[in-house]
């Protein structure tokens, strides 16, 4: 983890998104898929917290060496300011933060699922998987055509791609879950990766548990600092020995997590003030082939 004053090399509008490329060699050479950066907002404004973005691209070699790219979805005052930033301005960036995706040691057929901005992190992961001679298939979803992030990139990186939009303006009509079962069959999926809003991840997790597919998902939870101080972005995760659960911080213990261990009901319920432990206790999740510690490599 490093803190840097990084110059914006370029910004690019891509449909509903803006991508920013920064010159940040110290962060770029360490960044791995699934990790994110925390970008400080300008001083003297009323929006004060850092904004957090998954790393879309970190180049260690070639003409773009030392650059780092992330994707901004201009939905609020902070992200709106960032989307309008110009080249040669500098940003205060901390990164790379969080636990990255791990790669399977033996299994080869990987299905990658992304919804909306989640595609940014998934394409970075796909490149790394391809470099490790894995087969990559993708399911990409978004509300509309404008919000499908770089569909051509998805095609370039994978054997097969299913694009799903809620309004049917690009690819099939529906959500990623409508296309996922078929994609799993087609790819003879052995491993699943996903980056999507938490409600989608929950459904994906149910599918993975039912089919006993080892999976890793990048969770989204509202963050305060991004480096573990404030305990805002917690996700309830079952302990391995079944003795209960821990509220783990998505910023330092995640954002990549084992979806089978996440207590989705507890996390996503319209919560009462203080949550009791579920009446049946916390479920014990036993590892199945491919999910144990030894099956993954950092």
């Amino acid at each position: 983890m490093r803190r840097a004053r990084a110059e914006i090399l370029s910004t690019r509008r891509l449909g509903a998104y803006t991508t920013l490329t920064l010159v940040a060699p110290e962060i770029a050479e360490r960044a791995k898929p699934g990790q994110f950066v925390a970008v400080a907002m300008p001083k003297g404004r009323e929006f004060i917290l850092r904004r957090h973005f998954a790393v879309h691209q970190a180049s260690r070699r070639g003409g773009w060496a030392g650059t780092l790219e992330f994707v901004v979805d201009a939905s609020g005052p902070g992200t709106g300011w960032l989307a309008n930033a110009r080249a040669h301005e500098t940003l205060d960036v901390i990164g790379p933060l969080g636990r990255p995706f791990a790669y399977p040691k033996k299994l080869t057929n990987c299905v990658l699922v992304a919804e909306g901005r989640g595609a940014a992190t998934i394409y970075f992961l796909a490149q790394e998987l391809l470099a490790r001679h894995k087969r990559v298939d993708m399911v990409i979803g978004a509300p509309d055509m404008e919000s499908v992030f770089k569909p051509i990139e998805a095609k370039r990186l994978s054997q097969t791609v299913a694009v799903m939009t809620a309004d049917g303006s690009l690819g099939g009509r529906g959500g990623v879950l409508d296309a996922l079962p078929e994609a799993l069959e087609r790819a003879k999926a052995e491993v699943l990766y996903a980056a999507a809003p938490s409600q989608t991840l929950r459904s994906i997790a149910e599918l993975c548990v039912a089919r006993r597919i080892p999976a890793q998902v990048a969770v989204e939870e509202r963050m305060g600092c991004g480096y573990g101080l404030c305990h805002s972005c917690v996700v309830p995760v079952a302990r391995k020995d079944g003795s209960g659960f821990d509220q783990l911080r998505a910023c330092v213990d995640g954002p990549v997590m084992n979806p089978a261990r996440v207590l989705w009901d507890r996390w996503l319920s319209e919560a009462p003030k203080v949550l009791p432990t579920p009446p049946g206790g916390v479920p014990v999740v036993r590892d199945w082939p491919g999910t144990g510690e030894g099956a993954w490599r950092a």
Binding site: G224, C225, C233, K273, L275
Partner: protein, 320 residues
């Protein structure tokens, strides 16, 4: 004034620090997070997250919402409980080479006493801060520390059984801060922290819901600075000589100096640390620059030096 030896070191009622800047409760992590982002030995002290007798899982998410120049939060005091804290987190915090002030919280007098005795004899504990913003289980009140009787009862009990300095953190948004501070100090507390976060709410008008999972929360951030200054000013006037830690809205060296002028002995930096992990050190450097420009030797030389015309209408406390 050549040859003056300038130092940022302060002694706040027995809590000795290399700078008058602490990291406020809940913003200092659990020991490892700040490594590499800031020179931790240059932070005056860190205040731990609030520790309770039993472990707490904390509030549901979202736990944080940004508001104009501030943030509304409710973590529900997630913490491992006093035994696990003393066994694991406290040694880890102490290894950062920064003095550790432990924040304690409970719903009854008994819990505060048990927490104090659990910390007794631990060399890592430089001081205790009493979080009084919890609900009062015994008296069935929403916030324990808004009543002088409870403040003096709890601060007195903690102070009696503690060998280290004890600071009572007066809840934010109270109308009689000086009265509550006086209750704490007269019953034995070394000093006070002014103030805790005031209660707050953030609303999402699109979803017709509260922004936070716990619904109601607490306000932090730069928006609080004027509230902090007023509280510090009133307590410093009503109780001269009482060690005061200013907490709330301090983001820059200028903010910190303003607090010192109003009567604070040291300042706590909270939200600013979540935005800029080096803030506690930068604030201290800026204080040093200010001291140099004013040609004074120590932060205590500017304390309570706010020039107030004698004819000013007395504050609420002076009238008492």
């Amino acid at each position: 004034m050549a040859g003056v030896k300038r130092s940022l070191a302060v002694d706040v009622g027995g809590l000795r620090m290399v700078t008058p800047v602490l990291i406020a409760s809940g913003c200092a992590g659990t020991g490892k997070e700040l490594a590499g982002l800031v020179d931790q030995h240059r932070i005056g002290a860190i205040v731990s997250r609030t520790i309770t007798v039993a472990s707490r899982k904390g509030a549901p998410t979202p736990r944080i919402a940004e508001t104009a120049s501030g943030l509304v939060w409710e973590t529900g005091l997630q913490n491992p409980g006093m035994d696990a804290f003393v066994a694991e987190e406290l040694p880890r915090l102490a290894r950062t080479q920064t003095p550790v002030v432990v924040s304690i919280g409970g719903g009854s007098l008994e819990e505060y006493v048990r927490l104090t005795s659990a910390l007794q004899g631990r060399p890592e504990v430089a001081a205790i801060e009493i979080n009084l913003s919890l609900p009062d289980d015994e008296m069935d009140r929403p916030i324990l520390g808004t009543h002088a009787d409870r403040v003096s009862e709890i601060a007195g009990a903690v102070a009696r059984s503690s060998l280290v300095p004890v600071f009572a953190k007066i809840p934010g948004g109270c109308d009689d801060v000086a009265g509550l501070a006086a209750a704490a100090v007269r019953s034995g507390a070394t000093g006070v922290t002014l103030c805790g976060s005031p209660p707050a709410l953030a609303v999402d008008a699109v979803r017709l819901r509260a922004e936070l999972g716990a619904v109601a929360g607490w306000l932090s951030g730069p928006a609080l600075k004027p509230l902090t200054l007023r509280a510090v000013f009133e307590v410093a006037r009503a109780l001269p000589g009482t060690p005061i830690l200013a907490s709330g809205g301090v983001r820059t060296g200028v903010d910190a100096v303003e607090c010192l002028l109003a009567g604070a002995w040291a300042v706590q930096v909270g939200t600013a640390t979540l935005i800029d992990p080096a803030a506690p050190v930068e604030v201290a450097q800026q204080i040093a620059r200010y001291l140099k420009s004013k040609n004074v030797a120590s932060p205590s030389d500017v304390r309570s030096r706010l020039r107030v015309p004698a004819a000013t209408a007395p504050t609420q406390e002076a009238r008492r």
